[in-house]
């Protein structure tokens, strides 16, 4: 069987129109989703957005994870916008609410850790674009870890997570539960294998 006819296509079309366009829709047959908050960077004392170099992020990961094999980044981007922590929390809460509304909990292979992480990452960039930040990227990405310790209900093994650099440093985000911890407090921080900053 091929995916020749996606019966849910119209549904998704409507859903995604709601995700980022006009917030909540109530017409019958549509799914009500929350509009994500507008992107907010951390502002410096001069009122300009705070930025961080990719090399600084990579350095922190390599210090924390001696076994880090690859740090993938877009070479066209030098500096990354530091997201405001409050904005990040609101965006994460909205994301989780919308996943719940869509009935998208973990499903083996078809919708699992990498799907949650990549969706959160790519829609973060879309929120940057929507807010007019088109020349840069958020200091947020995703990673692969070879976990040795269970965390947030996830058993040891290969796992995908989101990370972000906030004003308080690097944090690890579990996009399936909303848990956010400092990189140093993430029990598998030594076993991060690949980081994707794009």
């Amino acid at each position: 069987m091929r995916l020749t006819k996606m019966t849910g296509w119209l549904c998704i079309l409507l859903v995604l129109g709601c995700v980022l366009a006009s917030g909540v829709h109530s017409e019958q047959g549509r799914i009500m989703l929350q509009e994500p908050p507008h992107f907010q960077p951390v502002l410096g004392q001069n009122g300009q957005p705070q930025r961080i170099q990719a090399g600084q992020i990579e350095q922190q990961f390599r210090k924390s994870s001696p076994t880090l094999a690859e740090f993938y980044r877009n070479r066209q981007i030098d500096s990354y916008l530091v997201p405001d922590g409050q904005w990040l929390g609101q965006w994460l809460a909205t994301f989780l609410d919308n996943m719940w509304t869509l009935g998208l909990s973990w499903r083996p292979e078809s919708w699992d850790c990498d799907n949650f992480s990549i969706l959160f990452n790519s829609f973060t960039t879309l929120r940057l674009w929507e807010a007019g930040w088109t020349d840069s990227h958020c200091a947020l990405g995703w990673l692969l870890v070879d976990g040795k310790t269970a965390w947030e209900g996830v058993p040891p093994g290969s796992h995908a997570l989101v990370f972000a650099y906030t004003g308080q440093g690097l944090v690890i985000i579990e996009p399936q539960t909303g848990r956010v911890v400092a990189l140093a407090d993430y029990p598998n921080h030594q076993f991060i294998k690949k980081v994707f900053l794009f």
Binding site: R2, S110, N115, L119, T125
Partner: protein, 149 residues
């Protein structure tokens, strides 16, 4: 629903070491469905960020973000509508532009494309120019730097 194992995926780009594979089993997409998704993502970006849609060739993270959005929407649709333990195969492909490809010059610069596994084989799509071709016909298929699904 056709399912392809990892070792078959690697045959899409033989000899390439830098292949990031997140799942174990993958689905072959229908090509028409893929093109519907392309149209939808174009509309989504145009609606949300008109300036990006108008200058997509100038936006540094455009191809990468485009591919991730499209892959996410494809996965989301399948997960909501099909009971299957497999993932849609839409990924990023980075290739050096040694040879020109339509509007894309042969300037040896690395560029990011969308690579999808369809029932007909690998399909390469450029989000900036909207060109597409089979992977077997892609002029820089011998100059791939990395693939991530």
């Amino acid at each position: 629903m056709a399912v392809t194992a990892i070792h078959h995926l690697r045959q899409l780009a033989p000899g390439l070491d830098d292949v990031v594979v997140n799942d174990r089993l993958y689905l072959h997409m229908d090509e028409q469905w893929l093109l519907q998704l392309v149209d939808y993502v174009d509309q989504l970006i145009a609606q949300q960020a008109p300036a990006v849609a108008a200058q997509k060739g100038e936006i540094p993270s455009y191809p990468e973000t485009y591919v991730q959005i499209l892959g996410s929407l494809a996965g989301l649709t399948v997960a909501r509508n099909h009971e299957v333990k497999a993932s849609v195969l839409v990924g990023l492909m980075v290739a050096e532009s040694r040879a020109a490809w339509g509007e894309i010059p042969g300037d040896s610069q690395p560029r990011t494309y969308l690579l999808a596994l369809t029932a007909e084989g690998g399909l390469v799509f450029d989000p900036v120019t909207r060109q597409q071709c089979r992977l077997s016909d892609f002029p820089n298929k011998a100059h791939l730097r990395g693939v991530m699904f």
